[in-house]
Assembly symmetry: C2
Homo-oligomer: 343 residues x 2
Amino acid sequence: MAPSRRAPTADGTARRRVTATDVAREAGVSQATVSYVLNNTPGQTIPAHTRERVQDAVARLGYAPHGAARALRLGRSDVVLFLLPDWPIGPAVVTLVEGLTERLQAQGLSLLVRRAAEGVALSGLWRSVSPAAVVSLDALDGAELEAMEGAGIPVVSALVRPRASAPGVLTGSHTLIGATQLQHLAATGHRHIGYGLPDDPRVAVFRDLRLDGVRTAAFELGLAEPSVRVVPMSVGGAADVVAAWRAESPAVTAVCAYNDDMAFALLAGMRTLGLTAPTDLAVIGVDDTPLAPFAHPPLTTVRQDADAIMDFLTAAVLRRLAGGTPPRPPRSEAITLVVRESA
Amino acid sequence: MAPSRRAPTADGTARRRVTATDVAREAGVSQATVSYVLNNTPGQTIPAHTRERVQDAVARLGYAPHGAARALRLGRSDVVLFLLPDWPIGPAVVTLVEGLTERLQAQGLSLLVRRAAEGVALSGLWRSVSPAAVVSLDALDGAELEAMEGAGIPVVSALVRPRASAPGVLTGSHTLIGATQLQHLAATGHRHIGYGLPDDPRVAVFRDLRLDGVRTAAFELGLAEPSVRVVPMSVGGAADVVAAWRAESPAVTAVCAYNDDMAFALLAGMRTLGLTAPTDLAVIGVDDTPLAPFAHPPLTTVRQDADAIMDFLTAAVLRRLAGGTPPRPPRSEAITLVVRESA
DNA sequence: TTGTATGCGTTATCAA
DNA sequence: TTGATAACGCATACAA
């Protein structure tokens, strides 16, 4: 009955943790040797015989290194922290998490995702997790970023804000997204175009960026300034906005929705008005949600190639970890227009 | 030029970490005192004067405790590990993550999410993170679970499999979901009912559980065995299945979709056939996706109350952390029928 | 009331 | 080739 600091479990047992010292004793070697074997320490030649004995003992005892101790000693863990902002999390972000998890896992790194809680900053977290690197979807506070880099933690940002074009920062192509939307509508003959603004203040960055792209493209094509309206995420609310657009003179004949979800709302609102896309009003979304092909009519949308982003992010993390400089972000981040029937 | 182990940052700087000892020196007290102040150590009375000096120094130096060192000393971190299985992650899981993050944050705990990569087990992770607790969406390997509990780490499972009704395990109400779907269809006069099976093998557990609920309910109501078909997630594929259901004799007049996404596919398939719900074929989903109200026609579906689940999970974690036994799971986990127009 | 000293489990330096 | 041993940064039992 070995005494223990740990809280007893439900069934009353309370095992002590298996340490490298236990393994050493079991294998009849010193604890240092265990470490050498387990880490393949360069410059240390271990005879096959010893190596085997150690590995047997490890297996027998079910030993696994203590991450905290390792992190304390090494100054970093094998965790990559993925900081998710306050925003609503859509399928695109989920895909990103899935892809990054797999890619980093292949490199022996564990992606741990932390979502920012409403309003609260994640500032302290990195100090307590000692991650090998941090990937952030949002812009980080300048001082915070400096502190992290100062502590030797590479920060890679998949960012979106136009200003920050620092190395290791993927400046999003949201303006390009907006431009692509508008260009498609213009190419299909529309002259008076609306822009549907989201209600949620948390996505203000994207909203502004995308709208900016739309505006600029409209200007370049010699079109009128787009008619901007906030679109509520309800059938009735969306219908009202649609009606308002159509009542303008000249009437709006096509709208860029902030994203596919909004496009769905718009389409639903139109139906209650007896209207159909694209004849009465063309609608184009952003994201290419899995549900987009099932919209009525099937949704025309703009997609951002997730693979390109994930590859860049992974490469950036790896390069920084190896002490190098981050790769250049992909030029235009593979924005593709997916033409279906709604526009 | 202080030497440092750390990799130099991009700009060549390489600061040493600020430790509690640094704070102590700055404040002119001992490191122990710093610790006392920062942790409000019970049984230690610190005069306001000293306390202030320490806190000033902390602020001035920007000190934050080193998580790894803390975890090593305490045996546990303030991280709660949320293990996400291999399955496709939908809006429901996202909501769960958001809710748990906030609730735990309010208790000073950080929820870190780890998605299982394709096929690879997450077995080792807990050993290296030293979490205060683990929340798992999936069933854990028995040995693994025992090891974690043995190490004093409470494991709370939001489970779904019927067998495991152990304490701290939330046995899902998937059969109830299926039953609710069928009961609604029966109540609206349908006698010959279809069940749409998902293609993805990863969701087999839910699939079987929900189908089981449908079957049982059908039996209890004296209806014929439901006609089960795999529904591909494409307009054409879904259309084929719809046609097949209608070609049966007696024809299927209503279907339970595995989830809302599938319901969208089915609805889209029907449209290509010139069919509309619920007249030609009633369709009911599961999840109440944000997009469900925007379906054509608006989707009737079954919703699982996320709040109840999150509350239970949070309570379970906290109770176990306090050394107590987990609360009893909510009896029926608040399944609600959301009637719109598709069924 | 505060300070000293110890150990948590590792890795890495050095001597054997 | 291997084995003592010293940090890593913190919390706490104990001494002052």
